[in-house]
Symmetry: C2
Subunit: 222 residues, 2 copies
């Protein structure tokens, strides 16, 4: 079967950048392409949008098919449409991203991927298409959201200390963060409260434990 | 001439939300559709992306063709792709927005528009397609950016007082803003400085004049 149009139509794909923290570093999930173009190269999970399928559905479906990961809510990142970004034909890609906790890290290569793996954002392989640019955009958005949203709480367990939370920020930004300003800023958001308990680690002073006041108010990367 | 594909392709459009402040209210630029579907109804300026054309180029071109407005930099807003959002076929729309100063307001209906006009965001006509939803998204993004960017400075003249700047924020958000917190927050951004002069209006105390320190550092809605 073939489909005919009066004027040329682009193909539309979705690509997905899934971040998580592993071994104390921000990682991103990549697949190894089984098919041309860029056969054998690493790329973001993704693929063509079905003609009757919502974009976010396509993103979740391709992610699941290619990596086995069910990321839950995916945030739309940006739409990439440089006319020559795909050697096959004009392909416009609507991209999505999410930051997921490390307990959802079971992955498996499937569908048209011949490999799947986590890569530290700080040392990536060469990527197919314009996926390096997509990933840069996703990483910049993620860092920006640390400043004006509560996205990082998605990675925290039920209770956590301020040094533990600060550590997550430091791992993502790869910058040292001032302790006092950090506490002040985070507490100023009004989304966490002390549990009344403390946690002692090694030779450090005990640190207050905090919990998120209302999980439903924690930004799902909005 | 016709174009044939092995699997169905969507059409891709761009739609553009241009905001400006007119008569002390936030306005948006709309066109009256000359053709079906939704003939005679108001809609955002926009149209189909040419097969070899960059998305942002298509947005600027359609805006200029339909309204005469050259908005300069357009920021990508969001991509809308609900499968039934257009009665003709599957149409995915990549949307853009900008906040422009009132001295760029000369508009004219052209191309496939039979009218063009500014409408207060607070009292819009019924809109074609899902353009009401697109406009909601653009307005929410604009309000959010007031908080974490310097987008509003794009609307200010070379020198301005704090009450004048606050007034722009109040017009956009339609909320009264606390004077002291506002000054503190704005000065904390570190992007404006006093000129050393003052401005007196009516019976009010004279107000300090400010200027943007480095125009190149003012966010073009980023």
């Amino acid at each position: 079967m073939s489909y005919t149009y009066e004027y040329p139509h682009p193909a539309v794909t979705v690509d997905v950048a899934i971040f998580s923290i592993r071994h104390d570093a921000l990682n991103v999930l990549l697949i190894k392409r089984a098919l041309a173009p860029y056969q054998g190269e690493w790329a973001l999970p993704g693929g063509f949008v079905e003609i009757d399928e919502a974009l976010e559905h396509a993103a979740a479906r391709e992610l699941k098919e290619e990596t086995g990961v069910d990321a839950g809510y995916l945030e739309q990142l940006y739409t990439f449409g440089r006319p020559d970004r795909d050697p096959r034909e004009r392909v416009i890609s609507v991209t999505y991203f999410a930051l997921i906790p490390s307990d959802r890290l079971e992955i498996r290569a499937a569908s048209d991927a011949e490999g799947v793996g986590w890569f530290p954002v700080a040392s990536l392989p060469e990527l197919a298409f314009d996926h390096a640019e997509i990933l840069d955009t996703a990483f910049e958005r993620l860092k920006a959201k640390l400043d004006y949203s509560t996205i990082a709480f998605q990675l925290m367990p039920a209770t956590f200390t301020m040094p533990e939370l600060r550590h997550v920020y430091e791992v993502i930004t790869r910058e040292e963060i001032d302790k006092r300003n950090f506490s002040k800023k985070i507490l100023g958001l009004g989304v966490i409260e002390p549990t009344g308990e403390e946690k002692r680690e090694g030779a450090h002073r005990p640190a207050k434990l905090y919990r998120v006041i209302d999980r439903s108010k924690v930004d799902v990367i909005k």
